[in-house]
């Protein structure tokens, strides 16, 4: 990515460089022991606490691990059971809804907020701080805060609805399967909109001015400028934000666990909470079955990452 060395394709340049700058090629080389001094500690941590656990989870997924010390080989049984597990599919459905809808909320709100700051709304500095702060709060704090906000008797949502005379709209937001997932999605978007705002703002400030000048000459209205110039020019950033949020929401755990623990009746269960529940919060102890779910979901997430990369890369190539 950021390598300053010429790649192998630049044959001529490399030959020239090696003629002209022989010492540089030398200083970029180092003896294996030197490289290992720098790299080995990180590689050991990676091997012991990332690579080995990943391999072991794959291994576990073919066993029934009812005890830390012993396990029974069950072949593909766990996987077959996962695919027949209605709760798993409910969790997939909830996670999918969240991953598709959530990022739209995040990115659209983030872009609108960034446009307000870009346009020089008054007290912009203060507003940026106020809008960004939720990003820094932990999920535990955000979750408890919003459990209170959604409280049936004295939560601010219902209190406001009653004050407006809309008594009938007051709900047990987290207690009703119809509203629980939506309520969580709103809370999650509340936390992340500020992040999308600062990224959009940075992108807005790096827009080249020529195109906006052209639009000025054509006397476009602000909506047309937004629709036909700003959004298309920010599109790579917006897409990137969408993908980041999409992948993030496929892993969502903390907020759900704090606010609803997946209930009521699985209506907010996500794949992550279900894996956790099956591993550490179930009436039977078995680490093999949740491992199988984790492996399935691992391939789904990695598959999406690869897919997005392929789509995104080919898009970029098309543009140039």
């Amino acid at each position: 990515m950021n390598r300053t060395l010429p790649g192998p394709a630049a044959g001529l340049r490399r030959t020239l460089a090696s003629w002209l700058a022989a010492p540089e090629a030398d200083t970029r080389r180092a003896a294996l022991p030197t490289i290992m001094v720098f790299l080995l500690p990180a590689l050991l941590v990676y091997a012991g606490l990332t690579a080995y656990p990943v391999v072991r989870t794959f291994y576990n997924s073919f066993f029934e691990v009812a005890d830390i010390a012993s396990s029974d080989f069950v072949g593909w049984n766990n996987y077959v059971a996962v695919l027949r597990d209605d709760t798993f599919w409910a969790a997939v459905r909830n996670t999918a809804i969240w991953s598709v809808v959530g990022p739209v909320l995040d990115v659209v709100v983030g872009l609108l907020l960034a446009l307000c700051l870009y346009a020089g709304v008054r007290f912009g500095r203060f507003l940026r701080v106020a809008w960004f702060t939720p990003v820094l709060l932990s999920y535990v704090v955000v979750g408890i805060m919003w459990v209170w906000i959604y409280n049936y008797d004295w939560g601010v949502v219902n209190v406001a609805l009653r004050a407006l005379g809309l008594e009938g709209l007051a709900q047990a937001w987290l207690g009703d399967p119809r509203f629980a997932l939506g309520s969580l999605i709103v809370t999650h978007a509340w936390k992340w909109a500020g992040f999308n705002m600062v990224v959009c703002l940075a992108a807005l400030h790096s827009l080249p001015s020529e195109v906006l000048e052209a639009a000025e000459l054509d006397n476009c209205g602000w909506w047309h400028k937004l629709r036909h110039i700003i959004v298309p020019m920010l599109w790579p950033t917006l897409l990137n934000l969408y993908i980041l949020a999409f992948i993030g929401k496929m892993k969502v755990f903390d907020l759900v666990w704090i606010m609803t623990e997946g209930g009521p009746v699985w209506s907010t269960e996500t794949v992550s909470t279900y894996v956790y529940k099956r591993a550490f919060n179930w009436n039977t102890f078995d680490l093999g079955y949740p491992s199988a779910i984790a492996v399935v979901w691992f391939f789904v997430v990695v598959g999406f990452v690869i897919l997005f990369n392929v789509l995104f890369r080919s898009r970029e190539r098309m543009e140039f």
Partner: protein, 289 residues
């Protein structure tokens, strides 16, 4: 940023938007969103200095008397001093270790030309997309086997591995932009490879290192999933676990829960107040295309 001179066209786009802002409706939306974004936190702030009975009487009232002693109660009687200490020990040591290991690896990957360089970089970096469950369950087993379950040391090591990909990614990008001439000159002055790292890369790369330190600190300070799986002992709990446990035991004691939440949030707010630019840089790195 806004004080920088901007081109006339960009300026006029901004002006046409700001005219729209002044024209009414949109300004109301900005105000509403700001209330929506900031009030929940301010509300918890007021509750943290009110007693639960006061809160039950009026949930949205301004505190009549500020009960600062609630912080002392939480700190001493509800074990929050212990939680705070645990969080501090685990997070500070994890951040120190991951910064050192990550910087060394990033320097090596950014500077030296060896077979497999990009492969190692890809391997280290790619785990950033893994769903945490793929390592969570077996990490639990591994830590139990090595007697690190339920210990701050175990959690610290896991935190190091969790933040390693991000640290290497951010630092490699910055270190690769340090001019090679600096290294050649240092070589000629007789610096060894380790001296180059310690006396050139670390000082020159300090802005990027500071960014990763702040970012890692906040992410780990707020971490919940691995802590909840890998710790069970009350005395080992970090702040997020402590708050949740308190919530579980004293569900009705809203005032005290709010005080605990503020204790957990204050360090983050202080860091944000001092280093907001660095923090935002770190979080947005790579997201702008």
């Amino acid at each position: 940023m806004r004080s920088l001179p901007r081109s006339a066209a960009a300026g006029s786009f901004a002006r046409s938007l700001s005219r729209l802002l002044r024209s009414g409706g949109l300004m109301a939306a900005v105000v509403l969103y700001t209330l929506y974004s900031a009030l929940p936190f301010a509300w918890v702030g007021t509750m943290s200095v009110r007693t639960t009975s006061e809160i039950s009487a009026a949930h949205f009232a301004w505190p009549e008397t500020f009960h600062w002693d609630k912080f002392r109660t939480a700190w001493v009687d509800s074990n929050f001093a212990q939680y705070f200490w645990n969080s501090t020990v685990v997070v500070v040591s994890a951040v120190a270790i991951v910064t050192l290991l990550g910087a060394a690896a990033a320097h090596c990957l950014a500077r030296y030309n060896f077979r497999g360089n990009r492969l190692v970089y890809f391997v280290l970096f790619s785990s950033i997309v893994f769903p945490p469950q793929i390592i969570l369950i077996s990490l639990f087993q591994v830590l139990v086997e090595y007697d690190l379950y339920n210990s701050r040391l175990g959690l610290t090591l896991v935190y190091v591995s969790l933040q390693l990909p991000l640290t290497v990614y951010l630092l490699e990008g910055f270190f690769a932009r340090i001019p090679q001439d600096l290294f050649d000159a240092a070589k000629m002055d007789g610096y060894s490879d380790l001296e180059i790292f310690w006396r050139i890369v670390v000082p020159v790369g300090m802005p990027a290192i500071a960014t990763t330190v702040i970012l890692n600190f906040i992410q780990l300070w707020n971490e919940f999933l691995f802590a909840v799986v890998l710790l069970s002992d009350q005395d080992a709990r970090t702040l997020p676990l402590g708050i949740r446990a308190y919530m579980g035991d004293y569900f009705q004691d809203i005032g005290m829960i709010a005080t605990g939440m503020m204790i957990a949030v204050i360090p983050v707010v202080v860091i944000y107040a001092f280093f907001s630019e660095k923090l935002i840089q770190g979080m947005t790195a790579g997201a702008v295309k």
